[in-house]
Symmetry: C2
Subunit: 413 residues, 2 copies
Amino acid sequence: MIIINIGDELLIGQVINSNAAFIAERMNSIGIPVEEAVVISDQEEAMKNNILEALGKTDLVLVTGGLGPTKDDRTKKVLCEIFGMSLKIDQPSLDRITAMFNRRGITLSENNRLQAELPDGADIIPNENGTAPGMWFEKDGKVLVSMPGVPFEMKAMMGDILPKIVERFHPDAAILHKVVQTSGIGESDLSDLLEDWETALPKEISLAYLPRPGIVRLRLTATGNDKTLLENLLQDEIRKLKKIAGQYIWSYEDNQLEDEIGKRLTKMKKTLTLAESCTGGYIAHRITSVPGSSNYFKGSIVSYSNEIKRNILNVREANLKKHGAVSEPVVSDMAINSMDLFDADFSIAVSGIAGPDGGTVDKPVGTVWIAVATPTRLYTEQFHFLAAGGRATIIERTAAAAMSMLLKIMING
Amino acid sequence: MIIINIGDELLIGQVINSNAAFIAERMNSIGIPVEEAVVISDQEEAMKNNILEALGKTDLVLVTGGLGPTKDDRTKKVLCEIFGMSLKIDQPSLDRITAMFNRRGITLSENNRLQAELPDGADIIPNENGTAPGMWFEKDGKVLVSMPGVPFEMKAMMGDILPKIVERFHPDAAILHKVVQTSGIGESDLSDLLEDWETALPKEISLAYLPRPGIVRLRLTATGNDKTLLENLLQDEIRKLKKIAGQYIWSYEDNQLEDEIGKRLTKMKKTLTLAESCTGGYIAHRITSVPGSSNYFKGSIVSYSNEIKRNILNVREANLKKHGAVSEPVVSDMAINSMDLFDADFSIAVSGIAGPDGGTVDKPVGTVWIAVATPTRLYTEQFHFLAAGGRATIIERTAAAAMSMLLKIMING
């Protein structure tokens, strides 16, 4: 399959093309490889040539963009030409758009009314989040689907389109996924550890390593015709995986660290606080990016100076003097005292050297101490992250290490 | 020009293609429009077809990726075929790679030695940050430049390549840029405000609106042959712009809000603290993403509950009860008391409803109060952000509004 993203904003570099990555990931998840991803301008000539070229090379083309109220004439005109259709008001789409405007108390403009003018032979895919519907074209065994370019509209629409694509291209297939997420072990060490298990996987199951900073996700894909059989196979393999690598696993879902933390804290009816030094508020930002996080996150301290560590977090002067800010005694004080100060059940404290300056021979840039305090115990660990990735990478990896440390303690005690 | 990014990791959606956006932005900055951006796999067939197709359509093709130690044979082989060259050890490249490995105390493997095997007719562009050099090919008036796919290696290399492209395609041109950044006014209102000025711009200067969440960047590009004349023209126009829209301007450089804040605080030898509610640590994260921020940022409080607002930030109970957490009196207390608590010269406080829950009829999702305390005054402002963009967008826009509010107070008093 080929992805075509239409949009001048992508060609002047104003916007990073996240749509292509999203679609590519979804396509791979249903076993359809992406051959090319092309970004083009919304000029008629470019659209027509590229779409025809893509349809000549492959059976499935997904197109995003070029459907805004000021631009859609051209895209729809080109698609009509290619598929031999003409534009006609689609009543369900017009009703939907009119209702959307009525709810907002805005009168429908002529431009917006034109968004319901759609190619008469295309299957219309409703857009629950915007005014431009999606369109499914089929001709000579080739399928082209046109979607809006606004990421959240496109992503929601992909939820409806994906099953249709599976039905059209793999009518008998059942495809199931399970994601298991690890931290504290690199991709190649994990792959060594899992070698025997991976080799013995049943033929229905394939494995993909999907690394992120500080994290390795494992995606198991089961393909076949019998859904129940596939579910059982997946469950068996996850059980085996847990025995081999359980100590590194922090989630059995395809979610983010902050989502898993939120899920577990909510279930346990427990609260969390943080005392962040080198991550400078980034962990708090991740935790509070989850809707409803105010139910379990009370707040936190960014203690970016020794003065604050002393005066607000009551870190003992003797510990600061003797061991320095980046040390086990200091993060321990930070974790325990922030837990008291915020009256929370769990606390994470981090102190490290994010660079580029501040490193010493004993404690080079990338040295980080993390402490996790629970209602019954205090856990501490030292990390050495590579300085080469720069400040942002050290912050990212420290956050991943700290949040997954909390989760692994919650899971394994 | 056409951009070709080679990489299977892009086609399975594991990595978002930020290289294309970076190159597109740089190309536009030197007045060379991007016609297409294509992502392909590192299979010989795909590479050869797409590169030939691109060279048939345009005069300049920039290629990234496909040069890793395990993959470069194929890419270089394809390029040799297309340009009629053969591979030969390039001694300066071999010396550079050997020295790089010696510094790290690693022995050069055969795979790495092969990275110095390069097409004998290409101009070699040294890679200061990795082992795969760049290559500049020229044939029949067409130019193709091959660069590594690792973003920071590619970005550094673009610094060397850009002047060569200007010299090759616009030999007599001087191209100068100035960026002016605004906030507190939308793109279309700003464009109305600037209409007369924009119409009267000298023919050497072109203007681009580059919006980001909560921010509109204005890029003035001056093109001509006389650099001094262009510099003077730009200065004149920036002066006029300042008169018309000065109240919205927070930077005269192409930097981030946190960079400009850091620059000004460092110059003033002043310190900053924050009291964040709805942004949940995101502003602290932005501030501390700047190297050296520990010189002016002491730390901050994320006060995600009323309890913390009361107990740690000493927000008056009467204000919380009478006006609610999202109110002018509460953010005022937060700003002033955090400034005292952290003994800082400036403080920003934010309190708002990031959603999706927590909105009321009086205070819908997107309602935000921001306070900025300076050594001499307290400033407050209410904002209403659209709920439609979701929680992440409200947090992003709140941070932009808060940081630019501080900057505009620093600049205009």
